[in-house]
């Protein structure tokens, strides 16, 4: 715990550098990565991340030292080449995009490994630390490195800020962007350059293999909480920053631990929490909502059947045996009793020993369902010109969904008709 306070107080200037650096790296990667995510190009980001490795080696061979600018320049070149090659192979041969991505990714990485091992055996003393690019080491960020990478990160943020509208438009509706005369090619070009730049600085923190995670996982997580693009970007950058800060903390307390994988584990955990627990889009929220709708539909269907039985006898309040209901529409007996008990609790049904009858509220609710069903059938035949024997299925669905406002509009549009296409009487609440 002490270590945490010491870390969070930022009293050690070294911690300040590392923490600030990691947060900048992960947050800016998350922001640029959100566009990769929205463009459904997540795996292209992965390919770029692997493809910068030979470029970094190339930059080192050219400069002879680990000059950050040389490394960035080299990485930029091979990163770009990989994007062009993936597109070229996909467009010009019969190879599909996923194969092209996998091919370029693994072959470029292989070339990178070959170059890296050759450099390591070459005896140049300044090469040590080059392999940090493989797994990342946020803790090694100091002084001049940090300044270079901060400048790149800020450039990224500024460009994204300026071109935000254009990038978003491109992600959602490329054809529209083209039709209003935006220079689509140039915008795409600058977005790809930004991704390459983000990768080049991001692999400092997490390494080549896991770079894809800090690009897309924050965006994937943020997407589950909101439908607003600005909120999504804000959330993605916050998630990224949290993971970056945790990574810096871990490399501070346990220097032997690889930082990159921990950053990825933190951001993945945030993502899994989002996938499951985000209120409207998460797995659990969706499941609960579906279960609730299923219950409503079952309840209303059973009420409707008792009502229809009542129509046959011209008395809606005769108590019924479960067998009578099952004869009209099949249910497992246990399931039906469960539904009936629920309806009893809600006051729609009254139970006398093994007989179940509608209450006044139950009759009204059932009547409304039947009315909507029949109105909708009529609407489909008169206004949509669908044959009367094809309208039942659709009405069966809409009867549970129609809002009171739409119900009223429908009544007025059809002029309060008396019967549906099958000559069944349409029941209104007032008579």
């Amino acid at each position: 715990m002490n270590a945490l306070w010491e870390f969070l107080s930022f009293s050690d200037p070294n911690i300040r550098y590392v923490a600030l650096g990691s947060v900048l790296l992960t947050a800016s990667s998350a922001i640029v990565g959100s566009f990769t995510f929205l463009n459904k190009k997540s795996l292209v980001g992965d390919a770029i991340a692997h493809a910068v490795l030979p470029g970094i080696c190339l930059g080192f061979l050219m400069a002879g030292t680990k000059n950050p600018l040389a490394l960035i320049a080299g990485a930029f070149i091979t990163g770009w080449i990989s994007v062009i090659l993936v597109e070229y192979i996909t467009n010009k041969t019969r190879i599909k995009e996923d194969t092209a991505i996998g091919l370029i990714l693994s072959v470029f990485f292989g070339i990178g490994i070959l170059m890296l091992t050759v450099i390591q055996k070459g005896g140049n003393a300044s090469q040590s630390g080059l392999d940090h690019f493989l797994f990342g080491k946020a803790a090694s960020l100091v002084g001049s490195d940090l300044i270079t990478f901060s400048i790149v990160a800020i450039t990224l943020l500024v460009v994204v800020f300026i071109l935000f509208k254009e990038f978003s438009l491109l992600a959602f509706d490329k054809d529209y962007a083209r039709s209003i005369g935006l220079p689509v090619k140039w915008i795409e070009l600058s977005l790809t350059s930004l991704i390459v730049l983000a990768v080049v600085i991001g692999i400092q923190a997490v390494g080549v293999v896991l770079m894809a995670a800090i690009l897309i996982t924050p965006a994937a997580a943020a997407r589950f909480w909101t439908d607003k693009i600005t909120v999504m970007f804000l959330l993605a950058s916050i998630f990224g920053a949290i993971s970056g800060l945790s990574g810096a903390f871990i490399s501070y307390t346990a220097p032997a631990m690889p930082t990159g994988p921990w950053i990825v584990i933190v951001i993945s955990t945030l993502a899994f929490i989002s996938f499951f627990f985000a209120p409207s889009r998460g797995v659990i929220g969706r499941y609960i909502r579906q279960a609730r709708i299923r219950k409503t539909i079952n309840d209303e269907n059973v009420l409707k059947i008792i009502y229809q039985l009542g129509e046959e006898n011209k008395n809606f309040f005769i108590p019924r045996l479960t067998d009578e209901i099952i004869r009209k529409r099949f249910y497992e007996k246990a399931a039906l009793v469960k539904i009936l008990k629920r309806l009893t609790r809600q006051g729609y049904v009254e139970r006398t020993r093994n007989l179940w009858g509608l209450t006044e509220e139950g009759k009204n609710r059932a009547q409304r369902i039947v009315k909507i069903h029949r109105l909708w059938e009529l609407y489909l035949t008169t206004h949509m010109h669908i044959a009367p024997d094809h309208v039942h299925e659709d009405a069966e669905t809409i009867e549970h969904l129609l809002t009171p406002e739409l119900e009223e509009q429908l009544e007025q549009l059809l002029g309060y008709p008396k019967v549906d296409p099958h000559q069944s009487k349409i029941p209104y609440a007032d008579n």
Binding site: S42, T93, T99, G102, V107, G110, L114, T217, A256
Partner: protein, 290 residues
């Protein structure tokens, strides 16, 4: 002799990968293969901790399970959480790979694996780990036997289930209609990919195995329109990359696995340019003549 052992092991591994790679690229699942090859890492480490050795049956089974779990997770996020496929793949494999690397550092003393080995294997050390019979006779490196057995298993799998794999790849609807379960064969294939990845792990590492899965198959795909020919050509390409890659690595004094991946890329580039049926040059000439 050592040269021969290394080249033979590499060739057996690449032939196994190439066979399965053909199915992967035609099913548009190349990236799922990539994901599995990363995701088996935690499985390898855990099996290592449990069994204490690297070449146990436990490990192959564990890997098979983890591979299918990965496939399941990707599909779960896609179908139940409605996450787009590419992101679902990316999130899943980076997470599992990260766990694997952390496990390696946590148990650094107990697990005879290091991070470099994860990335590009240790095929150069293959000749050092030999099997010696009770009579004291050296019968060759262990990795050679492991990769040989895996190749035989894969050959048996592909030839015995050929019709089913073929139909579920090219016409899944027809396959379903005549009662072949696409799900079963989907998971069987992914299980085979996972086991092959783990068996290849020692030689080429978890990442470069992707090159062996995809590149030879993609090269073969540009050279023929017949699926059986494609399978044979892919194996041939894998072997060719292994041989040329080995000598490239010796010449440059670098990673053998890296060099093999490099050569498989070179072969793909050559096929893309020179293929008599689908090559760039041939296409140019054809449009020129017309």
């Amino acid at each position: 002799m050592n040269d021969l052992y290394i080249i033979l092991t590499a060739s057996l591994v690449s032939a196994s990968c190439a066979l399965l790679g053909c199915f992967l690229i035609l099913r548009r699942m190349a990236m799922v293969g990539d994901a599995i090859s990363h995701a088996v890492l935690p499985g390898i480490v855990i099996a290592f901790l449990l069994s204490g050795s690297r070449d146990s049956v436990t490990m192959l089974i564990g890997a098979g399970i983890i591979g299918m779990f990965t496939t399941f997770l990707i599909e779960f996020f896609h179908k139940k959480a409605r996450l787009q496929t590419d992101a679902s793949i990316g999130v899943t494999f980076t997470w599992l790979f990260a766990i694997g690397v952390v496990l390696i550092s946590l148990f650094a003393g107990k697990v005879d694996l290091d991070q470099d080995c994860v990335l590009y294997g240790e095929i150069a050390y293959v000749p050092l780990d030999v099997i010696i019979t009770q009579g004291g006779i050296n019968i060759g490196p262990k990795a050679l036997y492991v990769s040989g057995i895996i190749l035989i298993v894969n050959l048996l799998f592909v030839s015995l289930a050929y019709r089913k794999l073929f139909l579920t790849t090219f016409d899944p609807y027809f396959a379903t209609a005549i009662g072949i379960s696409t799900t079963v064969w989907h998971y069987a294939l992914m299980g085979a990919v996972s086991m092959t990845t783990v068996a290849s792990f020692e030689s080429v590492g978890a990442i470069l195995v992707v090159a062996l899965l995809i590149a030879p198959a993609a090269t073969a795909y540009l050279l023929t329109d017949n699926f059986k020919t494609m399978l044979a050509l892919a194996c041939l390409m894998g072997v060719l990359s292994s041989i040329t890659g080995y000598y490239l690595a010796v010449w440059l004094d670098g990673s053998i696995a890296g060099a093999i991946a490099t050569m498989s890329g070179v072969h793909f580039a050559l096929a893309m340019l020179l293929s008599p049926s689908h090559g760039m040059i041939y296409k140019k000439l054809k449009t020129h003549i017309h």
